[in-house]
Amino acid sequence: MGLKKKVEPVANISEDFEEKRETPRTTEQLVSELNSNDGDVRRWAIRDLSGQKAACDEFLRRLPFEDDPTVIEALFSALEQDMSGRHASQVLSLLKSENVQLRNGAIELMQQNPDVFAANVTLLMQDKDPDTRIFCVDIIGAVAHIEAVNWLHQFALNDDNENVVGTALDKLAEIADVSTLDILQTVESRFPSHSYIQFVISLIRSQVRGADE
């Protein structure tokens, strides 16, 4: 099926919009402009809608359909300011997106909101999709949270997927403490023939012991 070519040049849409932007727009108009065909109009709508009550909901509604990288960036910047715990499930659903920018944006948002992430980590740990659990581990590796090492221990000890465990060990190699030594033997025995897991376990042991000396 062929797509109809736009009759009106994009430049004209932007010029018209610049004129319109000089007059105040209602929230409804701004929300409608979030779905404009013109990326400039969408970016301005994000800027002008930012901080308003319904902004986050509208931004999160728009994100899965947005394909302009600069608009996606603008949406995530706006969400950084205004996001609350209420929006967590919508942000976390982006971890399942095929779009890398959306996944990475969601990961960064969660890293910047450690308490929101902490409230949802148990749910993520139980997600059926191992890739989502790997992204959860990625967030844990970068989030500044007192429970981070403990969460990684839980992944290493309990997750059945060797790639999830491998990623948890990757992160432990960066933030492990003495308590990690206690779990390594168990993890080692869970994956006795997995060369990468065995490699990282030896690395963590030498790092923690080295740091302890």
């Binding site: 890739d131 790997i134 190699a173 690395l203």
Partner: protein
Amino acid sequence: MKTVMIVDDASTVRMFHKMLVSTPDRIIEEAENGVEALEKAIGTQVDLFLVDVNMPKMDGYRLCKEIRRNEALRAVPIIMVSTESANRDAERAYQCGANYYMTKPVDADMLKLVVSAVIGGGSNE
């Protein structure tokens, strides 16, 4: 001497792959993501890219496409390594220009064999 560039955001994975593919006749370069890999590769003689799929800034699929678009790099073989085992992910890797697709955990012997088949050498002795 042949140069292998290992691209992965996990330093432990880079260390592991480096340990597997290092030989006296190979130079190993490392990058944390696609952007860094391209920056390092331009102006360097790279003979093989060993690329992870999920990385921040620029993922493996996009890196593959960029390598294939770059006149100086387009002929360099790419091995993609991913945790994603679904056929569609392998298909996507090949569509983006990868020559080989391996799923994690990589079989250490298989990785050594594939690298040797692509760039020659491979004696760890």
